[in-house]
Symmetry: C2
Subunit: 708 residues, 2 copies
């Protein structure tokens, strides 16, 4: 269901590729039929929502109203556009601008909506800072006009320097983004070096001070609102768990409890995919004294327990040992296995990788070097085979073994691509460029592995990999903003600038097909391919504008072929994307790093881990990495004993808490603030929640506070 909705949302957004101005043009009938189909799916999804949620909740939700309005408006626009098209009048498909609304407002994109809500909440504060910043820019522009206006200075292009107030404002706004530094200063600087002080003061105040203030405001607000949302979530979770407890509770002695059987049934229902032994472990944590029931305090903790990823590992003998024990345990085999487990093995391959890097950089034409490529490829394949021979294959390819998966897929892809390339070459004496490009990229990617052999790098890499899933949220956010700007940009600028290949003889080929661009910086820098003629070009131009550099050249170019007011489009993009979106991105990366730096195991995690250790079914991460898992197991089994434990032992099961590397976005966000929120809010919130629960007769549990 969720996947279907997403699929149709992306189909709808993707339509821009085929609609006029198109990358691959399709007739209007085709695209409009697909769009109507998408709208029908969205409507169906909405109807489904309306059925499962109570009527008053459904109609109060602005999300649903938004979607309905967007569907209606899009239909109207489609009809009008179609009718006008039939009568050969060209109009604008303005409702395309609204498409990202579907991406934001469906229940599935909670993350993106949260970021948008945080932006909306930040707006008032950032507006005041922005006004102050603009005031400063206007003041400096006025000063610049008075200081330089009457000097008859000329810019490098020979145009008058700082004589028109509006142009000065634009130039100084560009200077804030540093894009025209130091060019904008040079005429004044050439006149007298004193004037450079004006520009230095300007840059310090407006670029360094104000831009940092924007970051501070965005970061502070983002954090504040995120914290608030997480707090709400935590309270809701708590509240619901208490509700569930009140339904299931049974009186046992002086207190209400939940019986073991019911608890197990509940866990089976809410988390059907966890194994029996994992459930057993959770029960042991919840019912520490094995009383046969779970008290309220432990019951409320269940949601947190289920949130923690406990990895269950079945300890199995190597399949080869199973099939041919004698060969696998022979002296040669044991030697090979100990060799692979030795540190020198890793170092040898690090050296091989470095030599490989040198070979890649060398000239491809030399036949010796293209043979060397085969040697390296077989060395890498040999490495993987040896590792699979030594370590248990299912442990080697476990979900959590990111680098093993990475290595293996890169090597196999490289093998396939290289074979494909070689066969194409021998068959047709011709290198397929696409295949060759892929081979090159894969070859270089193989080198990344060296990072994983150095401990300090591994830590940084893990943090970076951790950020990736959350970056997807920002991908969504960026997609929404880019899409809207791209649609507007295409309507404003399509066809105004044309790209001609290098040796084209077309009229005005050098001026991007537009005489207005003659002698402009835009044409001289050969920016003709930076245009809004289709959605991919638009996205690339918007990306260039995000990077900021030379954006004034692009803005001036498009202003020349349309109107000076077109610059407002580019300034608006800068304000929205660079001042808002990029700062949110930086805020998120900063936050993620700070969390990573200060993250310690949460209370609940420690409880589970302690229990795992108590039961003697724990594994150290280092053991896992070194593949000593199986050996260690045997010694462990001798050391420990106990009725409940031996049962698990005989199954050959081990547990470990997943490292933060494999958390979901939401879990990471929750972890970010849970430690901060709960201590202070414990007093009032628990009271509040206790008031909500109908169990007024139930005596307050004094140790309840620590569970929140």
């Amino acid at each position: 269901m969720q996947a279907t909705t997403y699929f149709f949302i992306f189909v709808d957004l993707f339509l821009a590729v085929f609609e006029d101005p198109a990358v691959y043009p399709l007739p209007f009938l085709a695209t409009s039929l697909v769009e109507v189909l998408c709208l029908l799916v969205f409507f169906g999804r909405l109807v489904h929502f309306a059925k499962v949620t109570p009527r008053n909740v459904f109609w109060k939700d602005t999300k649903n109203i938004c979607i309905m309005m967007a569907i209606l408006v899009t239909l109207i626009d489609l009809i009008i556009y179609g009718a006008l098209k039939i009568s050969n009048i060209n109009s604008i498909r303005w409702s395309r601008f609204l498409r990202p609304i579907f991406l934001i407002n469906f229940a599935e994109s909670r993350q993106i909506r949260r970021v948008f809500r945080s932006i909306r909440n930040t707006l008032p504060e950032i507006t005041y800072v922005f006004l102050l910043f603009m005031f400063s820019v206007l003041m400096f522009s006025l000063m610049a006009l008075k200081l330089f206006g009457d000097r008859n200075l000329r810019t490098v292009e020979g145009s008058p320097y700082f004589t028109n107030y509006l142009e000065i404002v634009f130039d100084l706004y560009v200077l804030v983004t540093t894009a025209n530094s130091p060019d904008v200063m040079m005429p004044a600087f050439d006149f007298s070096w004193w004037y450079s002080l004006f520009f230095i003061t300007y840059v310090v105040i407006n670029t360094y001070l104000f831009m940092s203030v924007f970051l501070a405001v965005v970061y502070n607000n983002y954090r504040k609102h995120l914290k608030n949302e997480i707090r709400k979530l935590a309270y809701m979770k708590h509240h619901k768990m208490i509700e569930a407890f009140n339904i299931l509770k049974v009186k046992e002695g002086t207190e209400f409890v939940v019986q073991e059987a019911q608890w197990k049934q509940l866990v089976k229902q809410v988390a059907p995919d966890i194994s029996t032994s994992h459930r057993e472990l959770l029960l042991r944590v919840s019912d520490e004294e094995q009383k046969g029931y779970v008290d309220k305090k432990s019951f409320v903790r269940l949601a947190d327990l289920l949130n923690i990823q406990v990895i269950a590992m079945r300890i199995q003998t190597h399949p080869l040992e199973h099939w041919m024990p004698r060969v696998y345990n022979s002296a040669v085999s044991l030697f090979i296995r100990s060799m692979v487990q030795h540190k020198g093995f890793v170092w040898t391959y690090d050296v091989i990788i470095l030599i490989n890097a040198v070979f890649i950089a060398l000239d491809e034409e030399n036949p010796l070097i293209s043979y060397a490529e085969w040697v390296f490829l077989s060395l890498y394949i040999l490495e993987i085979l040896l590792k699979v021979y030594t370590y248990e294959p299912r442990a080697f390819f476990a979900k959590t073994q990111f680098w093993n998966w990475f290595d293996t897929s890169i090597i196999i892809a490289a093998l396939i691509a290289t074979i494909l390339n070689a066969s194409l070459k021998s068959a047709s004496q011709y290198n397929s460029q696409q295949v060759l490009d892929i081979v090159f990229i894969l070859r270089v990617l193989r080198l990344i592995r060296i990072v994983d052999s150095i401990q300090r790098f591994r830590v940084i890499m893990n943090t970076l990999i951790n950020i990736v899933p959350t970056m997807l949220t920002f991908g969504g956010l960026a997609l929404v903003v880019y899409y809207m700007f791209a649609i507007v940009g295409m309507e404003l600028f399509q066809g105004k600038i044309q790209f001609f290949s290098r040796n084209s003889t077309a009229h005005h080929a050098l001026e991007c097909g537009n005489p207005a661009l003659k002698d402009s910086l835009f044409a001289r820098a050969k920016y003709c391919k930076n245009n809004f003629n289709d959605i991919t070009s638009s996205f690339i131009v918007l990306m260039e504008l995000t990077v900021v550099n030379q954006w004034h050249v692009l803005a001036n170019g498009f202003a020349l072929v349309t109107h000076q007011a077109a610059k407002l489009y580019f300034v608006a993009f800068h304000v929205v994307v660079v001042i808002m979106i990029i700062n949110i991105l930086i805020a998120f990366i900063l936050e993620a790093f700070f969390v990573e730096y200060s993250l310690e195991k949460s209370e609940v995690e420690t409880a589970i881990e302690r229990k795992i250790q108590e039961l003697g079914v724990g594994i150290q991460e280092e053991e896992l990495r070194d593949g000593k898992l199986i050996d260690n197991m045997e010694t462990n089994e001798n050391d420990l004993g106990g009725e409940g434990i031996t049962k698990k032992k005989s199954q050959g099961l081990m547990f470990k808490i997943a490292s933060t590397r494999y958390r979901t976005v939401d879990a990471l966000l929750q972890r970010m603030f849970e430690a901060e929120i709960l201590p202070e809010d414990d007093g009032p919130s628990v009271d509040e929640i206790l008031n909500l629960s109908p169990a007024d007769v139930y005596p307050k549990n004094p140790t309840f506070d620590s569970t929140a």
Copy 2:
């Protein structure tokens, strides 16, 4: 003493202006004599230090060793250089590079040293991130070489595109700073839009991700180390206060205390400039029950109490009321005073300012407009006179009234400059350009006032003003780094690039006097004035490099006139200044804003404020601003009574806690972390400090914890 040291440090640094390559050349004999003088002063200061500090402490301090080595090395360098100069051999004054050592290592520059220590501590961590980042750049460069090297693509300038590995690395490093975006991508993008994905991936990973990680690492470490230093300071303070207590203590009943008389004497000694009534107030806070002595807990708090700026305000009648009460209280005078106090008065002047802004933007040549300038000037003077007439002049020009001081000084300066300009004009029919420039700047600065009338802007402005003193620390830091790079830059590049004025007919004038620059981007952009021919030019070039944009053009230009390896100088500058220093600046601004957002009154401040309110001598800040101070006072006096209070009342004194606006750098930094540090560290630290104090017989005070 401190001022003298600073003076000579700056004289020493300033010598670079007169030394070859000089802005104002002076003979070597003159500069070297001044330098020897400076060294003598530094040596004298060091001898003084050595006398006041114990010998083993003095010789253990690396600061002192550093200074001594620097003095010695500079002397040796001076002698060698002088001797070679006499025999007409030109050598390098390399010890100039060491001059900033004096700025860092004298005891006075504690702030700068603290930042340097924090940088040193951050280095290992940032090095690992930097290595990973460089690895990523090298990998992408290798990919770029394989993907684009054999395509026979050409850059805009017509040179081969991405064929040399080292050049690719440099180009892609420049792309990280965004300075050559999108130019570096255009040839590949023109070839196929698919290749733009390579550059977009590169920018996302290396510019956005890694640069944010640098900020995160710098920020996190900066914070951590700052916190640690402040913690140490707080402990030291605590420890010393307990030592002082143990010297002064007297047994009173069951506990040791300090008698009131001794307490007063101590305060008089350590803070001789606070008034008797202020001291009385502090005593009231310390000895709440007026027992005639101060207990240990309150005594230890003394340092914090003295740190808090309590502003004592003597309530006085307006001098005019004193001299001619009848006229000042007449109906006309009262009407004027109420008019000035009315909100409409502020609004009227806001409108006048806006009209003024329009007039400034208009053409100066029109005589009507130059008359208007006189009108505006007299309106502003009238405003100040009216305000001084209405409000008490000493209150109006109090130290804390930043905007009043700002306004008045701007207006008076503008008045003087305008009169000077007018008299010069009538005397010689000639506008002095310097005077006119100042008049223009002052005119525009007057407009800033409008910001202060809007509450929301005022809050942001206050935070910004708050940051200013701390920015001075960063000024010092930047000065040290810039100075060192400038000295090296001058030795490497002096005289290689010359600036010729626009209509010069000199040979190679268009190529900055260096044929190697023919057709280079550097010459075409007319960057000839960006050179290292003297210290001011060097500083301006370094500022441009800090702003980053076009730095590759500068780097390439200087590489062309010397050697390709010269690029390393520019890359080193980027790494040091942009990755380290600027991130520290941003970290500080972020931190300052977060503190401002979350700052609440500290415990000690609240205690003082409560006491002030109890004694009935408090003032609300709003009352102060609205000038209602005097009126309110009279009603207050009727309401309240009490023996100690009436005494103060009769003096017409009022107290208030200074707002955070007027804090010193150190106080702000301490406030930043005090709240965070003390709760957690209370347990161990107090024990530790109690162990240090010799008062083992003294029973531990259970309420002592809250004082730390």
